[in-house]
Amino acid sequence: MENRKYHVLVIEDNPGDFLLIQDFLEEEFGEVHISRAECFKSARALFHQISGLDIILLDLSLPDSSGETLVNDVLKLAGTVPLIVLTGFADKEFSVKSLSMGVSDYLLKDELTSSSLFKSVLYSIERKAISNKLEHSEQRYKDIFRLSPQPMFLCEKGSEKLLSVNEAALRKYGFSLGEFLSMRLKDLETDDFSSEIVDSEYKGVSGHKTKGGETIFVEVQSNSVFFDEEEAVLIIASDITDRMNYINKIEQQNRKLSDIAWIQSHILRAPLVRMMGLIEMMEEEYKIEDDQKDIILNLKSSCHELDGIIRDILKKADRIKTSQNI
């Protein structure tokens, strides 16, 4: 940290005060890069020119702005760069208030020493770095929710009132954010197909209605989270409509196949066995001339062939008896 060269912007119209600050900074930091602005306007201009700024020191009374307005304007300008205000006794009360506005620290000019300035600058830089990191990670988690390709819902624990939805949910369901926020999660579900809720945890497959009246099937998963310091439930809904439709189609085809097997077994085979029975009877009860025997034999083998075909089809449908009884 010590061998780092800091870049400080001092916004101070009083040349005496500026010199003092410059002295203090150089005394403690050794090599330090100091930029100076004498009014808010030039500070703003300067801010756009320089980069890699580490901290801003701001005098509370400038020729073109002062007090709360000035602090607000500079904070907006500063973004992630920490800001320390320098003030006289008269402004002490406001200086305290400025801390809640986002100012990192305030220093009373009359009590300023090189070591108190050094400490405040270092503290402010480090604290700001940490809070920036936190803000960044919070933003990252918000982005994960907002930009996830899976529809996500955040709802109040217990009441199921929707608190937030992501962009994928808006796209998938067609409702506006305003419409969503006036709904409960249950309002999305179809009557005959709702997911199981155990201890505010959602699980299973659920039918959801879109704004266009279409029913989609979603697999729902949930987790307890904190949202604005309240307990909430985060729900992820993956669309499995295509998969469900596919399964339904296969099941339908299986039923059809089963029906075909039934027809083979009961209907188609009935006239065949009648023929086979009649041939059997002819052979047993009638005297058949030699020249007719071939015809009977051919008739018989044709019937057996057809019977074999029916059995093969049934075997493929897994419906055939595995062993003959007698």
């Binding site: 097997a261 039934w262 077994s265 009961h266 209907i267 085979r269 009935a270 065949l272 066995v273 009648r274 086979m276 029975g277 009649l278 059997e280 009877m281 047993e284 009860e285 029916i310 059995r311 049934l314 419906r319 055939i320 008896k321 595995t322 003959q324 009884n325 007698i326």
Partner: protein
């Protein structure tokens, strides 16, 4: 004690064939034919006697009342007569074979077409000893 052989099939030709085959087995019992489960059920219900033995050769797939529906109805009745059933079906369906084993009255399941020697062998079934 009466003994009767009841043939049940909606197919006229099958009834004719089965009757001829059965007659070759020298069965003394009178033979009656029925066109569906309902007809044979009504016939059995009309019988007020007791101790009679009926052997029923039963087809499965029939209009009005199928063989299975007949078996269900039969099991709802308290009969004082003995009823033995042989399923004779053109069905090769495994489900039909499995179902036939659920009924105490069913002593065998034969696949159409039945031949004379098959029927002769059936008549030697131990449960048919009192019937022959």
């Amino acid at each position: 004690m009466n003994k009767e052989l009841l043939l049940v099939d909606d197919d006229e030709m099958m009834l004719f064939l089965h009757e001829r085959i059965v007659k070759k087995c020298n069965i003394s019992a009178p033979i009656r034919s029925f066109r569906n489960g309902k007809e044979v059920l009504d016939y059995l219900l009309e019988d007020g006697g007791e101790g009679n033995i009926y052997l029923i050769l039963l087809d499965i797939n029939m209009p009005v009342m199928s063989g299975w529906d007949f078996m269900e109805e039969l099991n709802k009745q308290k009969s004082k007569n003995r009823i033995l059933v042989v399923i004779i079906s053109s069905s090769l369906d495994i489900e039909d074979l499995e179902r036939s084993q659920q009924y105490a009255q069913v002593i065998d399941y034969l696949e159409k077409p039945i031949k004379s020697e098959l029927m002769l062998r059936l008549m030697k079934h131990e449960k048919l000893r009192d019937f022959i």
